[in-house]
């Protein structure tokens, strides 16, 4: 089996590895780089458990095959230390009991962070729509939605006065 040389930046570190073209990013992260926080729940791109940040935006690592990763920048759940939005989400996820078995949680957090940053004005209905590609079988989603809303609300609260000061 011919293996491809793959160069990536993963969690701000340069990595080089040899991969079968048929292997997917989730398996490379988990198996080769031992970043097991990224989980696979379906390998069909449906459940969202494997969601990572790929070239700055959330993507399904289970249907991103090795070749497409050459030259890519990847951030996994292990790569958000020091990120204020992720820290706020983690705190909110605990406070709102937004996780039970924890399996969907890393993908859910990566998606939640994207929602918070991309859609600062999102209401609950929009948050639910944006989360709809990440399945959770334990919580019934109420805690997850509430956690994202909590972080959005707090940021809006902070942004309000700051914006008016700027004006």
């Amino acid at each position: 089996m011919t293996r491809l040389p793959i160069r990536m930046t993963v969690n701000a570190e340069n990595v080089e590895l040899l991969a079968e073209p048929r292997s997917h990013l989730a398996d490379l992260l988990r198996g080769e780089l031992l970043l097991t926080g990224t989980h696979t729940g379906c390998e069909h791109g449906v459940c969202g458990a494997c969601t990572v940040e790929l070239d700055g935006a959330p993507a399904r690592s289970c249907i991103t095959h090795a070749g497409a990763c050459d030259g890519a920048t990847v951030r996994t759940i292990e790569g958000f230390e020091g990120d204020a939005v992720m820290a706020a989400l983690r705190e909110a996820f605990t406070a709102e009991h937004a996780l039970q078995c924890g399996y969907c949680t890393p993908g859910m957090l990566v998606m939640a962070r994207d929602i918070v940053l991309r859609l600062p004005d999102a209401d609950e209905a929009r948050v639910r729509e944006e989360l709809s590609g990440n399945l959770c079988r334990c919580t019934g989603y109420r805690g997850i939605v509430a956690a994202v809303m909590r972080v959005l609300d707090r940021r809006r609260g902070l942004a309000g006065p700051a914006a008016s000061r700027a004006a």
Binding site: M1, T2, R22, S23, E43, V46, R60, I63, H65, G133
Partner: protein, 266 residues
């Protein structure tokens, strides 16, 4: 499951891409449709050609009333207003409801169209526009009318050695009315019926009924549908062969509701 083995190459220019297709390689853009199929071993190509790094594969350009959307433009870019004007507004609304954002971040308009899944959004919507698909083959470029592009279940007018390079759509006046409705039980589910109606001022309105498990049905004059949505939607849907009663009801509803959206903005 993991895919069957394949080789991977990343053509640096369009000529190389066409050459790879000539040698039998399977073209891949965002990989969001073929990715799961590879993982399920439903498709087992020997070779994959990754088009994502071709020059000008993504991106939008306007010239002379024509908007050229690079085949590699992602759904997310279109959702985020990469296409200007009324046309962009309409396309952004369609893009936002494709699958999920992480899929939209990778999936491309050209990849989706060329994949030709009858339930896919661009397959359902683009035939409504008087535009064309720009195909590049060994003999150079040719244009295929969007209404004729998808010919059946995963079957297009592209020749095996042709690559889809861009979509060209006429820009639209601000007064253009648009209706688009699809039936998904949950976001991201494959549509069970999609309809859209495009009413450009001064032109005959057009409509498409899609997600019928085969090629989309293009209604090149939708005036009757806009005049009598209920009856005409039923007539069109009932004429589609092989639909179960429920799917026929969905098709009817899709047409009726898409028409209503146009009429509401009248």
């Amino acid at each position: 499951m993991k895919p069957a083995p394949f080789t991977y190459s990343r053509p640096a220019d369009w000529g190389a891409a066409v050459a790879l297709l000539q040698s039998g390689a399977r073209p891949v853009a965002g990989g969001q449709s073929i990715g799961p199929m590879l993982n399920l071993r439903v498709v087992q190509p020997d070779a994959v050609a990754d088009l994502r790094h071709l020059p000008g594969f993504g991106g939008v350009a306007l010239s002379g009333g024509l908007c050229r959307i690079g085949a590699g433009t992602t759904h997310a870019a279109i959702e985020d207003d990469a296409v200007p004007g009324r046309l962009g507004e309409i396309l952004a609304g369609v893009a936002r409801r494709i699958a999920y954002r992480p899929v939209r971040n990778r999936g491309t308009i050209g990849g989706s169209l060329a994949h030709a899944d009858p339930a896919a959004d661009w397959v359902a919507v683009l035939p409504a526009f008087r535009g064309s698909a720009v195909a590049l083959g060994p003999g150079g470029e040719r244009r295929i009318a969007l209404a004729d592009f998808v010919m059946g279940l995963m079957e297009t007018a592209l020749r095996p050695d042709e690559v889809l390079r861009a979509i060209e759509l006429p820009t639209l006046p601000a007064e253009t009315r648009w209706g688009h409705w699809k039936f998904c039980r949950k976001p991201g589910e494959f549509s069970k019926a999609t309809a859209c109606v495009l009413a450009v001022p001064g032109e005959v309105p057009r409509a498409v009924l899609a997600a019928l498990d085969e090629a989309p049905l293009v209604i090149s004059d939708a005036s009757a549908l806009l005049a009598a949505p209920e009856a005409e939607a039923a007539r069109i849907a009932n004429a589609v062969p092989g639909l179960s009663p429920w799917r026929a009801a969905l098709a009817r509803t899709a047409l009726k509701r898409a028409a209503a959206m146009v009429l509401e903005t009248a």
